[in-house]
């Protein structure tokens, strides 16, 4: 039974990827190139060279955390879609700490920036958490909407009050070097990746070995049972959304100090690290190991895009197409998780429950 489920989860994740790669291959063939060669270059360069691998791991750091932030709420049947906004405010505030508080001590400076990033993530997540727990307002709608509110606010702040006047584009000032993670040798990898991995490991441990994980699972699978056994569902819902916000804010702070060093309007990349995290979590079936694998795979895909551009005549947009197809398949899966889509579609006539009108 258990192993069947695992197998199904793996299939659920691997199939969309394979299908997407297959469709990608057909497109590559249509351009007149060899898909095997293209994929070989793409994954070979991003996974099997030191430089590529370290780039990939470096990019996977924040994804690991945003993926975890999504997963803990999804597992509990909550849908925190606000990870992107929480990451942005976390990154932005860490950027201000880095640029305006001249703490000097590298360790302390980073700690303060992390603390501030995580705290603002929590504060921002407090809105949907309270609305959900006390007024039963759908957290999915609230968090989705708040992302855009946050983006707009940060756009104003970074182009107005906190703009680096010397720069020719919209950005906050660069953070002090004491707030920057130093890279390992000539790679782009920084200690932040290890910190992300460690935090991820702690979450994994809490999730599988403690009451925290039991609560998440029970609330996700049967809230009434959870209440009846004294698990304080309302309090737990608030706590989970807040923890999710903290992780997202922390990830934003880490991204600021290990990669961006300043807040620009493209701080979180084209697709957005929070959204990527959702994809990673869905792809990894919200399981710890799954999230590690999928975050590395996903960032390999992204790093690989540049290599495709460099070494073949295939346009790098092919990677965007593949990503898009994966997202499409995963959205079906998401809709299914959220609204029981497949179940509704496959419901037999004898059991239908919808009214005629």
């Amino acid at each position: 039974m258990k192993s069947n489920e695992t197998l199904r989860n793996i299939l659920n994740s691997v199939l969309p990827v394979l299908l997407a790669l297959l469709i990608g291959a057909i497109l590559i063939l249509a351009i007149g190139e060899n898909p095997l060669e293209a994929y070989g270059i793409m994954f070979g360069k991003s996974l099997f060279t030191l430089r590529g691998l370290t780039n990939t791991l470096h990019a996977a750091g924040p994804l690991l955390l945003t993926g975890a932030a999504i997963a803990i709420t999804f597992r509990a049947g909550l849908f925190n879609m606000g990870v992107e906004g929480q990451l942005l405010i976390g990154g932005f505030m860490a950027g201000l700490v880095g640029a305006y508080l001249h703490i000097g001590n590298p360790l302390l400076h980073k700690l303060v920036a992390f603390a501030v990033g995580a705290s603002v993530g929590v504060l921002f997540a407090l809105i949907p958490a309270l609305l959900r727990a006390y007024f039963r307002v759908d957290e999915m709608v609230v968090t989705l909407t708040l992302n855009y509110v946050m983006m707009t606010i940060l756009e104003y702040l970074s182009s107005g009050p906190f703009r680096d006047q010397g720069a020719g584009y919209v950005t906050t000032p660069t953070i002090d070097s004491s707030a920057m993670f130093t890279r390992f040798g000539s790679t782009r990898l920084t200690p932040f990746f290890l910190i992300a991995l460690l935090l991820f490991g702690i979450l994994w441990f809490l999730n599988t070995k403690t009451e925290f994980g039991y609560k998440i699972e029970a609330i996700g699978k049967n809230p009434e049972f959870s209440e009846a056994t004294g698990l304080r569902v309302r309090k737990s819902i608030i706590m989970l959304i807040l923890v999710s916000g903290a992780i997202a804010g922390f990830a934003g702070a880490g991204h600021m100090m290990s990669q961006e060093y300043k807040y620009t309007l493209s701080f979180s990349g084209v697709t957005g690290l929070g959204w990527d995290g959702m994809l990673v979590s869905l792809l990894g079936s919200h399981s710890p190991l799954g999230i590690i694998i999928s975050s590395i795979f996903y960032s390999a895909l992204k790093t690989g895009a540049d290599n495709i551009n460099m070494y073949t005549s295939i346009p790098k947009e092919i990677v965007a197409v593949i990503e898009g197809i994966i997202i499409l398949f995963l959205s079906i899966r998401f809709l299914n998780e959220r609204f029981g889509l497949l179940e509704k579609l496959s419901k037999k006539k004898g059991e239908k429950n919808e009214p005629a009108l």
Partner: protein, 515 residues
């Protein structure tokens, strides 16, 4: 007039479970037919088959003598059968008339692709007037009370000209005033020639409006009576059954020095609609005593259990246990104090079907340190604990690592009982402990309860199965409309006496609670 609707050996199975067993129902044209029965008796299933929302497994339905051939609610409505469900299907942001006409919007005379709102409003206003409803067509539905929303559901059907109107527990969500209004409305509809099928488990309503009553129990019709020839007490007895199925020996041994261990005093609470559902309930339980609560379902028993097991908050009154106040404590806190809880709904509250047996075996104890080592779950000990429960209580499982969904109803219930009794409690709150389990498991569960009592434990037993309460309890409180109306001794009382109490009448001999 004559028969308008008839079923012949109508049967519905869900898998192996028979929800309706050879139902032969007859409804006369122009009557109000009441259908009564406990929760889960199969009333909704039967109605859903009449409304063509469920496909019968076997049997026929005749409408005015003709076997029906249509197959969807839409067709049923066209043939004059309409149904109002327990849960409304309205669009909250739409106005009243828009909801009434949903799906059959009236097109504009000239511009066919537009909706003629004016004409719609007019037609709805006329409809509302014709049937004497009191409703503003232009009000937005989300601003309306539950009672008013229900009227819209009824109007939806009337607009589509149904002859037979099925109402599935229409009064369960209404305030007493709204109930009276609805009942008047139903009489008015009957006067206008409609046939009405009313599902309810409130006997007062049955007596007030219906012409005939059909009682359903466990998927079978167990009685058809004319309302004028029966009374509430008789109906109450029919609903909860009179068969005493006790197979275990109850010695009714009294304790030497009975010490009160559990005291409930003036406990009161409202439901989410603001109605009082538990109304100044008081009782005591002594060590070595089983206190039973009987009553027709829906009279506050479920809510009382929820209050006492930490799932609902009391608005007034107190609960004391071993001299300590425990009102409104959480479920895990109650368990830590030595109270075992068997909740009413096995799969909704007692167990989590999609979690493993061992995870379920520690439910309710996860906040304590019993199964942890330095705050971390000790899985070896948890598995061992689960295995012990399985062995000791003879729970039949297929796979140890699997989920609870593998268990049959009786074995699932045994797992709950094993988990709860294993904590060595001093008080057991058991709600519907044998609902839907097989005979063997019933016997086992009854024996467990009696053994616990005989070893000095106190038991609060809530059951809608009258025979169960009668044969196990040492004292019985009868609930009616949220109150404990009277207390009786099962060895001395008669079924008539309990029946009267369940129907809300206080017989002379009963000990009446001083309030």
């Amino acid at each position: 007039m004559g028969t308008i609707l008839q079923t012949k050996d109508l049967t519905k199975k869900f898998g192996d479970f028979t929800a309706n067993d050879k139902i032969n129902l007859t409804v006369e044209e122009g009557e109000i037919k009441a259908i009564v029965g406990e929760n889960g008796a199969g009333k909704s299933t039967l109605m859903n088959m009449l409304y063509r929302q469920l496909e019968p497994t076997s049997g026929e339905i005749y409408l005015r003598g003709q076997p029906i051939e249509f197959n969807s609610p839409r067709d049923a409505i066209q043939h004059g059968i309409g149904m109002v469900h327990q849960h409304f299907m309205l669009v909250p942001s739409f106005k009243v008339y828009e909801n009434i006409l949903l799906g059959t919007e009236l097109a504009h005379d000239k511009l066919r692709f537009l909706v003629d709102h004016k004409k719609e409003q007019q037609e709805c206003a006329e409809l509302i007037k014709r049937y004497g409803f009191d409703l503003d067509v232009n009000e937005v539905v989300e601003n309306l009370s539950v009672g008013q929303q229900q009227k819209i559901e009824i109007l939806k059907m009337l607009y589509r000209n149904v002859d037979i109107l099925i109402l599935d527990e229409p009064t369960s969500v209404l305030t007493p005033q709204e109930v009276d209004e609805l009942l008047l409305q139903l009489k008015e509809l009957k006067a206008q020639g409609k046939t009405i099928i009313l599902i309810t488990h409130k006997l007062r309503e049955v007596m007030q409006v219906s012409d005939s009553v059909t009682v359903i129990k466990k998927g079978q019709i167990i009685g058809n009576v004319k309302t004028s020839e029966t009374n509430e007490a008789e109906l109450a007895q029919m609903m909860v059954g009179r068969k005493v199925l006790l197979t275990v020996q109850n010695d009714h041994i009294g304790q030497e020095s009975p010490e009160v261990i559990y005291t409930v005093n003036d406990l009161t609470t409202n439901n989410t609609y603001g109605n009082i559902v538990v109304d100044h309930v008081s009782f005591e339980i002594k060590k070595g005593e089983i206190y039973g609560i009987a009553g027709v379902e829906g009279n506050g028993q479920s809510e009382l259990v929820k209050l006492l097991s930490g799932m609902m908050e009391a608005t007034g009154g107190t609960v004391h246990y071993k001299g300590e106040e425990i009102t409104n404590l959480w479920a895990d806190e109650l368990r830590k104090l030595g109270i075992a809880i068997i909740p009413e709904d096995r799969y909704a509250q007692g167990l989590c079907k999609e979690m493993s047996l061992s995870a379920n075996s520690i439910a309710g104890s996860t906040t304590s340190d019993a199964f942890k080592k330095n705050g971390i779950f000790d899985f070896k000990r948890i598995r061992q604990h689960c295995q012990e429960l399985i062995d000791h209580y003879q729970i039949r499982i297929a796979e140890f690592e699997g989920n609870v969904s593998q268990l049959s109803g009786g074995n699932a219930q045994k797992l709950i009982i094993a988990r709860e009794m294993n904590r060595q409690p001093d008080l057991l709150i058991a709600s519907q402990p044998t609902r839907g389990v097989d005979i063997g498991a019933i016997e086992f569960i009854h024996q467990q309860i009696l053994d616990f009592r005989n070893s000095g434990g106190a038991v609060l037993l809530i059951s809608s199965e009258l025979s169960e309460v009668m044969s196990l309890s040492d004292r019985i409180g009868v609930m009616y409309k949220g109150k404990i109306l009277g207390e009786v001794d099962p060895l001395e009382t008669s079924e008539t006496e309990i029946g009267l109490l369940m129907a809300g009448t206080i017989p002379q001999e009963a000990v009446v609670y001083e309030k």
